[in-house]
């Protein structure tokens, strides 16, 4: 017991991990994918910075969100990006999403006995043009899903997504069916609501919100045009496209 007494002999060791708070989430649509994260980085009760991105564009159709121990996260993203660059050198094209997902599992599992203390969520567009989300645990277990939240406010956000995306605990009206995939504007509102709510209820969430939207090749930007401050990151409007939308969150 840390009571400052010498009553109990203690052997303590250097702890190579820390937790830096924040929350990430991703939702897949029929032909798009939204990957989002807040930008606060904290340790304990201290806010280290109000802007430390947790979501990264990997290719024109893959975006990775990383949450947990920030140092591990940054190094991991850097290594993933370099592996993707080698792939481009070898094959003269971007690695497909499902291949990136498998690669991430391999890279995570390679550190099975000294894990990267990070939760990854990979979102983007598959080769067949469908929106996809892959979620990982720190040692590489992964699966493809329609939506996933991770990080400090996972326990607040995931039940909300289960209800809003999977329609859990909802009774549909007679003769009405539930859509398999929600349209983009609805998904974006759910993402924004998730983060404003998590900001209200969790001290480690807040400051800023970054939402990446990946649109399948050929899909119109319908549903995005009404959003203010949408910024396109891809140079080529004929292929898959990546957009980012930034919003402020409460800073208290």
């Amino acid at each position: 017991m840390p009571d400052g007494s010498f009553a109990h002999p203690q052997q303590r060791q250097f702890n190579p991990y820390s937790e830096n708070g924040g929350t990430i989430l991703a939702i897949a649509g029929a032909d798009f994918s939204v990957i989002a994260g807040d930008t606060r980085q904290s340790e304990g009760y201290s806010i280290q910075t109000r802007y430390a991105p947790k979501v990264f564009r990997l290719t024109d159709r893959a975006v990775l969100a990383v949450n947990g121990f920030a140092a591990d996260g940054n190094v991991f993203v850097k290594k993933v990006k370099q592996r993707l660059e080698w792939y481009r050198h070898a094959h003269a094209k971007d690695m497909p999403l499902r291949a990136i997902a498998r690669m991430i599992q391999t890279m995570l599992y390679a550190q099975r006995f000294f894990p990267y203390y990070v939760y990854n969520i990979l979102g983007g567009i598959e080769e067949d043009g469908s929106g996809a989300v892959y979620s990982f645990d720190p040692v590489g277990s992964y699966e493809r899903e329609a939506c996933r939240a991770a990080g400090a406010a996972q326990s607040l956000v995931q039940p909300f997504l289960d209800n809003q995306i999977y329609f859990k605990n909802q009774q549909s009206l007679p003769g009405q069916s539930r859509p398999l995939h929600l349209p983009l504007p609805e998904v974006l509102s759910i993402v924004i609501d998730s983060f404003t709510s998590a900001t209200e209820r969790h001290i480690e969430v807040g400051d800023g919100l970054e939402m990446y939207v990946v649109l399948a090749k050929g899909r119109s930007i319908q549903g995005l045009e009404s959003f203010r401050g949408v910024q396109e990151l891809t140079p080529n409007p004929d292929g898959d496209r990546v957009f980012v939308i930034r919003r402020e969150l409460k800073k208290d």
Partner: protein, 285 residues
């Protein structure tokens, strides 16, 4: 037949102070088809002539991307170039990993020069049989370097390596002023192709199949144009065949300053460009 006693290994000097193995390596570059590089204020262009071993075969790659800001053109043994470009890619990645900065062109080229020099000084090793033009845009601007198997490195405004590259150099020298002042990347590419055109053997024209074009610059990531994508550039030329072929003007090949070189050149020319097949596999043709 004359036998040279001083070329059995790369570490033994001849009594006249030469390293024959290293010089032979430099000859290997001339066996390869030409590559041309040129620099304006904010762009670097590499163009190269590709060769195919046979009619039905594919063309040997002449341009290799190293990073978004750097690429190389090769003449000589293509496998050696692949080893070197792979090493350069690793260096570029390392620079990003450790300092989060793009690899400087000078650092890149000196890193492979050091590797090449080692081979000229260790017993049992073979010098690289390839020459490279290294193009890069970094924080100090646009750069073009020539790498040689001897380990020597020089920076150029315009350079050409490979078979009949003297003709290209002549073009670059004559047009240096305009090339240096060129603002448009398109114009720079056209100058590059004009120079490359002058290296063409008889009865050969620049086609989208045998020509590779690449550019890197302030606003342009290193981009390679191959096959059908090359046609847009060829369309900008007044002619795709070389001036000598057009008006039967005879060649203006370099005036080598010693016997040995003269001899080799003669052999090369005698052997003809059309049927010199014995050691083709080894080169980038």
């Amino acid at each position: 037949m004359f036998r040279n006693n001083y070329d059995n290994d790369s570490v033994t000097y001849s009594p006249t102070g030469r390293l024959f193995q290293v010089e032979y390596a430099l000859e290997a570059i001339k066996q390869g088809s030409a590559a041309v590089g040129l620099v304006s204020k904010k762009d670097v262009v590499l163009v190269a002539l590709k060769r195919n071993a046979e009619e039905l075969g594919s063309y040997q790659k002449k341009l290799i991307k190293v990073d978004d800001h750097m690429g190389i053109a090769l003449a000589g043994l293509a496998p050696d170039a692949r080893v070197l470009s792979n090493f350069l890619r690793k260096q570029a990645m390392n620079s990003k990993m450790i300092f989060n900065r793009p690899l400087l062109t000078s650092k890149a080229v000196y890193s492979i020069a050091d590797k090449a020099q080692e081979n000229t000084q260790s017993y049992g090793s073979r010098p690289y049989g390839v020459g490279l033009l290294v193009a890069g845009y970094d924080e100090s601007g646009a750069h073009l370097y020539e790498f040689q198997p001897s380990g020597s490195v020089l920076e150029y405004f315009g350079a050409a390596i490979g078979a009949r590259s003297q003709a290209a150099r002549t073009y670059l020298e004559r047009n240096l002023e305009t090339i240096r002042e060129t603002e448009s990347p398109e114009e720079l590419i056209v100058h590059g192709l004009n120079a490359l055109r002058d290296t063409l053997p008889q009865d050969v024209e620049l086609t989208y199949r045998n020509t590779s074009v690449s550019i890197v610059g302030k606003e342009t990531k290193y981009t390679i144009y191959d096959d059908e994508d090359v046609q847009q550039w060829l369309d900008k030329l007044d002619s795709v065949s070389n001036a000598r072929n057009r008006d039967d003007d005879d060649d203006d090949d370099e005036n080598a300053d010693n016997e040995q070189q003269d001899n080799q050149q003669d052999q090369q020319q005698e052997g003809g460009d059309s049927n010199n097949n014995e050691d083709r596999m080894e080169t980038d043709e």
